[in-house]
């Protein structure tokens, strides 16, 4: 009663992996041919994988939630079929299993005896079109990769391995492949600057009463940063000027004014800029905003936020120059939103009060808005309202 290993097949024309959703069998269980073994989710579909053999489940090789590469063991089945009455269980021969060390067909590709040219260009390297494409995506120079496949062929893992270490050009320039969050930021920012005609306005506000309120809360045992005040002021100003909480619907030539106010919080993380979303911010008071914002910021830095907390913002708040000498900047709109608000650091500044120059705590605000939706007059009204809410936080 031999053990047979069932390897994860390519379930959908060129897939490389699948995520195990759930087992439908347990170790020790008897199964018939075509009995459902497990459910897996590929990039294309959720499918039920049926057993190729009758027998006893000897070992489950993966846990639910785990990603299994195509060709890796999924389950070991102890066959109950008497020898000789049925075909010997065999390994699949199809795409996705990769090159074989001992092919069943009795034929294998012979390594080329032609000596490699001294300085091969990319066209002289042996690599499949898919691998070449992957190399282009990752910015890997194929000529600099040592192939480990049959006959020195460069494989996908060779390319991905080479992409780990930033390669150095012939003239010493370093090239860094753009992947993941950096790539997403690049795409989003390019979309903003190429599709949204945006302009920026600036103001300085007096933070005296904001800091006083903050001090009062501190005395009462509630410690808050300026950020919740900024968020609450933006929410209030947005409620007064709903046009800023909108999106331009290119397909229909329509402006869509959003009912909900979901505030995006631009957060600097080690992986890059992330924008977790404080949903329904208009339903929260200052303390709730503070609590939720710290959860979101910590989650973004830990990389533990679910997609729901990372999408769907209707207006975004960002910090400009929270440290260092920088006062303000021109934030770029987070598409498809209409407005982004940048806050600088609160510092003592010279202000003219009743004709006298006095030192007061203050900070710069900058807003960038979509000029298709908002003209300068409305932007100024919004900014004025925003300054009023910041200067009268206890109003």
């Amino acid at each position: 009663m031999p053990d047979h290993v069932f390897r994860l097949p390519d379930l959908g024309e060129g897939l490389t992996e699948a995520q195990l959703i759930t087992w439908r069998v347990t170790e020790g269980q008897q199964v018939e041919i075509n009995a459902p073994l497990c459910e897996v989710e590929t990039a294309k579909a959720v499918v039920v994988v049926p057993s190729p053999w009758a027998g006893t489940i000897a070992h489950l090789h993966a846990q639910p939630g785990q990603s299994v590469p195509v060709g890796n063991p999924l389950v070991t089945i102890r066959s109950t079929t008497a020898a000789g009455t049925e075909e010997a269980p065999r390994r699949g021969v199809l795409v996705g299993y990769g090159p074989e060390a001992t092919p069943e067909s009795g034929i294998r590709r012979r390594s080329r005896s032609v000596p490699a040219p001294a300085a091969p260009g990319p066209e002289d390297v042996r690599a499949a079109p898919f691998v070449r494409q992957r190399a282009r995506e990752l910015g890997v120079d194929l000529a600099r990769v040592t192939g480990t496949g049959p006959g020195g062929r460069v494989t996908r893992s060779d390319v991905e391995g080479a992409a780990q270490a930033p390669p150095v050009d012939a003239d010493g320039d370093r090239r860094i492949s753009v992947v993941g969050i950096r790539k997403a930021i690049a795409r989003q920012m390019l979309r903003s600057i190429t599709t949204i005609p945006q302009f920026t306005e600036f103001a300085v506000f007096d933070a005296t009463r904001l800091l006083a309120d903050r001090e009062r809360r501190k005395q009462a045992g509630q410690s808050v940063t300026p950020l919740p005040y900024f968020v609450r002021a933006v929410v209030r100003a947005t409620r007064d000027h709903p046009m800023l909480n909108s999106t331009w619907d290119e397909a229909h030539d329509e402006i869509v004014i959003k009912r909900a106010i979901h505030v995006g919080l631009a957060v600097n993380t080690s992986a890059g800029l992330l924008v977790p979303v404080l949903r329904d911010a208009d339903q929260l008071d200052l303390a709730q905003i503070a609590a939720r914002a710290s959860e979101l910021i910590a989650g973004a830095r830990a990389g533990s936020l679910p997609p729901r907390d990372m999408t769907g913002s209707t207006i975004t708040v960002t910090n400009v120059g929270a440290s260092g000498p920088v006062e303000t900047g021109t934030p770029i709109i987070n598409p498809p939103e209409c407005c982004v608000v940048g806050f600088g650091a609160i510092r003592p500044r010279p202000m003219v009060i009743d004709g006298q120059v006095v030192a007061r705590p203050g900070a710069w605000i900058s807003i960038s808005v979509d000029h298709r939706i908002v003209d300068g007059a409305l932007a100024t009204e919004f900014l004025t309202t925003l300054v009023r809410y910041l200067e009268e936080p206890d109003a």
Binding site: L11, R90, G96, Y97, E104, S105, G106, I107
Partner: protein, 349 residues
Amino acid sequence: MAQLNPEGTLPPAVAIEEAGLDRARLVDLYRWMVVIRRADAEALNLQRQGELGLWGQFLGQEAAQVGATLALHPDDWIFPSYREFGMGMCRGIDPAAMLYLFRGLTHGGWDPASHHFAPLAIPVASQVLHAVGYALGCKFDHSSQVVLACFGDGATSEGDWHEGMNFAGVFKCPVVFLCQNNHWAISVPLEKQTAGRIAERAAGYGFPGVRIDGNDVLTVYAVVRAAAERARRGDGPTLIEAVTYRMGAHSSADDPTRYRSDDQLAAWSPRDPIVRYEAWLLAEGHLDDARAGAIRAEADAVAQTMRTKLVNAPVPPPSEVLFDRVYTSPSRTFQAERDEFAATLEPSE
């Protein structure tokens, strides 16, 4: 046009005998539907087990495939799309051999001439041109053969389809166009791809079109038979729109739950072509439970034999698969390419 209703009862006006259906033939229609559905399910399992690269189910379309195939003379030609596996089985082709294509072992798998069944056409609607061309040849030869061109609703959006239809109308080719309208072109629903009724387009090409219940095997049989006889008499083509439903996915690489509602699927379930026909056969006394059980057992055996033969199929040398079935007399360049390829291979010790 519908005859058998969903409860499996038949209006009394339909003359079964006129359609050339005796009891043995009636049971045969049922038997084939059960057998091809079982083989279809086995093929999907084989794909999930890594034994096939791809599979396109035809679950729900058995009546259209069986009814149309059995309505033809054995030497009438069928030009199938990739979903007409069931028709090939009805023509006596070894189902395992038909699966070799989906295992990457061959580009064909059977001798089209001996089964009068052309290779499965993967490019959508390309087979319509082949069918019409063959039908024109039948006409030139004064042959009594007719041709069945098979395609889905999506294919009717293709230029090839229009060219074939137009040409067949102009030259009165002996061809029957069978559209299995299963409502889906992969994930595109019929209403997003076709504004009018498919059958009505035939008028524009100068021949009749008829829209029928494609889940009623008796209707399909009777209408295809009548259309084939019309073509055989020299009266030209007919377009048949057999309205059916793709109960499964477009292919094993597709997940229909992403684009269609359970409600739609549930609405079609009562119209399952096998369930309703079985109900009618049992009620009329043409079939009993013992015979039905024997047919199901036969279907299981066919599936098991198909599985065993498929997984043990020898793997042909790569050069044979790639080169040897392309030209009857290969050009020098082609031979050089084959030799160059062969030189990169070596037998294992």
